[in-house]
């Protein structure tokens, strides 16, 4: 009676008895949104990884890579199901990806449950490599934590002489953690966050919020993602806001920058990557990526490119043989390498320690391209920034995870 499930059954049985992975073959699963609101980010993520594979003949460290991409549709339950499919049916050695924090939180348990390596190549949720790390022995993160670049951002803002800052951030975990990181360091340095505004994720009409921004603030710190990032600067300018606007990493990154206009010139933000990093390695990466995919790479692409590079290094040490999940993670964690974003190594919580760049939007020509375009020029580099900034791991972990209410808004008026 259930025709289709019978077909599925037979196919499933056939595949279940498929040849298990050989020693010299590396099966890598990749989960990212390929449809829905984040479809393009998912493609950027995939393209970054694929570029590295293409540059290395489809091999990592001597092992032939089978790269299987699955669509999470931007929904955590679908991400879980696809990861399960990759592990159970495709018998992948590891799975990579997950975009949103919600995906990260959904996928980490899968790695523990099915004892498979999960490399978080984008998902930034702080606690996955902090207070929750013990639950997830099979994960390692190659990207960043939400608060990581924003600790130095708070420092920088304080050094600029800003005393009173208004924050306006997307109202979900990522927005909370980015704001929290910024606020903690900014206030520890002597600054004051005098107002916190939380538009829901996906807000495009900032009409209700802009008029409430305090007029006497020294700066506005924004955490915008996707379409929000495009709209806020435009609407702020149209509303006559002259206060300097600074932002979290996603407010001006290369995913949205090409669609922005002159309204964002001079805006400053912080992240572990900018396409304008002026090193030969990055120049080569940007040029290769742009000529293949027609756009400047964003940190989503760089993160996955570097992840591939890291896997390459580990597999080289094992002469192309899969060392098993625990060894793999240990070796990956022990890496020190020069990535496109700069030097990277890992802390003992399996999160990267890397340069954080304070970058400013400028219009200029770079890398020999003929036209003037918007680039995130590096104006300051903080080297070797880990996820705990200067606080020390134990002290940091004693405080609660950054949330809407932490750090509390002591100076809010």
């Amino acid at each position: 009676m259930k025709l289709f499930s019978k077909v599925g059954l037979v196919a499933g049985i056939a595949l279940a008895f498929a040849v298990p992975a050989k020693a010299q073959e590396l099966r890598i699963g990749f989960v990212a949104p390929m449809t829905g609101i984040f479809a393009q980010i998912g493609k950027d993520m995939e393209n970054g990884f694929q570029l590295y594979l293409d540059q290395h003949n489809g091999q990592l460290g001597g092992a032939k890579v089978t790269f299987i991409v699955e669509d999470t549709e931007g929904k955590p339950p679908v991400a879980v199901r696809k990861a399960e499919k990759l592990i159970r049916q495709d018998k992948v050695h590891m799975f990579i990806g997950g975009l949103l924090a919600s995906a990260g939180y959904a996928l980490a348990p899968v790695s523990s449950r099915l004892k498979t390596v999960y490399v978080l190549s984008v998902s930034a949720a702080d606690d996955l490599t902090q207070r929750d790390l013990n639950k997830y022995p099979y994960i390692i993160r190659t990207s960043w934590t939400s608060s990581q670049p924003h600790h130095p951002m708070g420092q920088w803002a304080c050094e600029q002489g800003y005393k009173r800052v208004v924050t306006i951030a997307a109202d979900y975990a990522f927005g909370h953690e980015v704001t929290g990181g910024f606020q903690k360091v900014f206030e520890d340095c002597g600054g004051k966050v005098v107002q916190k505004i939380w538009p829901p994720l996906g807000t495009k009409d900032f009409g209700p919020y802009i008029p409430t921004i305090k007029k006497d603030a020294d700066a506005i710190f924004t955490v915008m993602v996707g379409p929000m990032a495009l709209q806020f600067p435009k609407q702020a300018q149209a509303a006559g806001i002259k206060t300097p606007i600074i932002g979290g990493g996603t407010s001006y990154d290369e995913f949205v920058l090409p669609s922005m206009g002159d309204e964002v010139l001079g805006h400053v933000s912080a992240l572990q990557y900018s396409a304008a990093i002026d090193t030969p390695a990055n120049a080569a990466f940007v040029k290769a990526y742009r000529s293949k995919y027609g756009k400047v790479p964003s940190y989503y692409s760089e993160s996955n490119y570097t992840t591939a590079q890291m896997i390459d290094e580990v597999m080289k040490r094992n002469k192309g043989k899969w060392p098993g999940p625990q060894q793999f993670i240990k070796q990956l964690q022990g890496l020190k390498l020069e990535a496109v974003r700069g030097p990277v190594f890992f802390d003992d919580m399996r999160n990267p320690v890397q340069n954080i760049y304070i970058k400013k939007v400028e219009k200029k020509k770079m890398f020999g391209y003929p036209n003037e375009e918007l680039w995130n020029t590096i104006i300051k580099t903080y080297p070797d920034v880990g996820q705990f900034w200067k606080y020390g791991k134990d002290k940091f972990l004693k405080q609660p995870v950054y949330s809407r209410d932490f750090p509390p808004c002591k100076y809010c008026e």
Binding site: I197, G202, D205, G207, Y209
Partner: protein, 286 residues
């Protein structure tokens, strides 16, 4: 919260309501005449934005993109009605599911044709300025949105009340059987109204494209808001759509400004309240 704050918020709420009117007027007309809940309406909105972008990329003219995109989507709507919806006859459930099927098809097609990047429709420079009136910064684009919505609203009202075509449509809405009895071709009316609805939605998409952006997923994001407007204002009533748009625009705006935690609540709570008191909406009829 001084006077300036309230004035700006009212202005913002009204401009958002203007955009909603474009989106909801088509939906309510389609419902009023054909009793169809068009779940592909959000898709028309989004496709309007995408087609406009293509026109702008090809010709550089934003002014041309407005009618071109709206007409293109009107044709799509027309085809959908004639070829797919008509054969079903009067079966609201099937029609709804059919429109959903199309919504999925449109979404995938849009992704394949235009890619998944978040895009913006840049209006001509003249509209990007702000008029400073008494210390208030009023973005000209929002004024344009309000103006367009008012013009279209008036145009529709005049057409409905004062023209023969309008009379025909009103007859078909009031009592389709009687209308047929006096020789009105109700199927022609349906086709026309469906195309008109698509036209309005697409126009909304082009205008909203500067304001909301154009990206995959926008279709299903604006759809519930459009429904909120139609349900509150009254299904099938154009005046209801106007009133509903204004109410929802203001409620949403003030809700977010004053009670940000309850953002979605300020949208759906009035809807539930009105449904409790009058299921057909403020100005709807049975």
């Amino acid at each position: 919260m001084n006077l300036e704050f309230w004035l700006i918020q009212i202005f913002n709420g009204v401009s958002y309501g203007a955009l909603l009117f474009l989106l909801a007027s088509g939906l309510t007309l389609i419902f009023g005449v054909m009793r169809i809940v068009n779940l592909a309406h959000g898709s028309y909105f989004l496709l309007g934005g995408y087609v406009a972008l293509s026109v702008i990329w090809a010709t550089g003219s934003w002014l041309l993109a407005l009618p071109a995109a709206a007409l293109a989507i009107a044709v799509v709507g027309l085809l959908m009605e004639r070829v797919f919806l008509r054969p079903l006859g009067f079966d609201p459930l099937r029609q709804v599911l059919l429109t959903v099927g199309f919504a999925f098809l449109f979404q995938q097609a849009a992704l394949d044709i235009w890619g998944g990047d978040n895009l913006i429709i840049d209006p001509p420079a003249a509209l990007t300025r702000s008029w400073v009136v008494g210390g208030l910064h009023l973005p000209v684009y929002r004024i344009f949105m309000i103006g367009t919505a008012v013009a279209i609203g008036l145009g529709l009202w005049l057409a409905m009340e004062k023209t023969r075509v309008g009379a025909v449509v009103r007859a078909a809405v009031d009592d389709a059987e009687m209308a047929r009895g006096v020789g009105i071709d109700t199927s022609r009316v349906s086709m026309f109204i469906f195309a008109l609805g698509a036209f309005l939605a697409a126009l909304g998409g082009v205008i909203g494209g500067a304001f909301l952006g154009v990206y995959p997923g926008l279709d299903f994001e604006v759809l519930p808001v459009a429904f909120a407007v139609v349900i509150i204002g009254g299904m099938g009533s154009l005046t209801g759509a106007a009133v509903g748009s204004l109410l929802v625009g203001l409620a949403d705006n003030f809700g977010k400004a004053l009670f940000p935690e309850l953002a979605y609540f300020s949208l759906y709570a009035p809807m539930v309240a009105i449904l409790a008191l009058k299921p057909t909406g403020l100005l709807g009829r049975e």
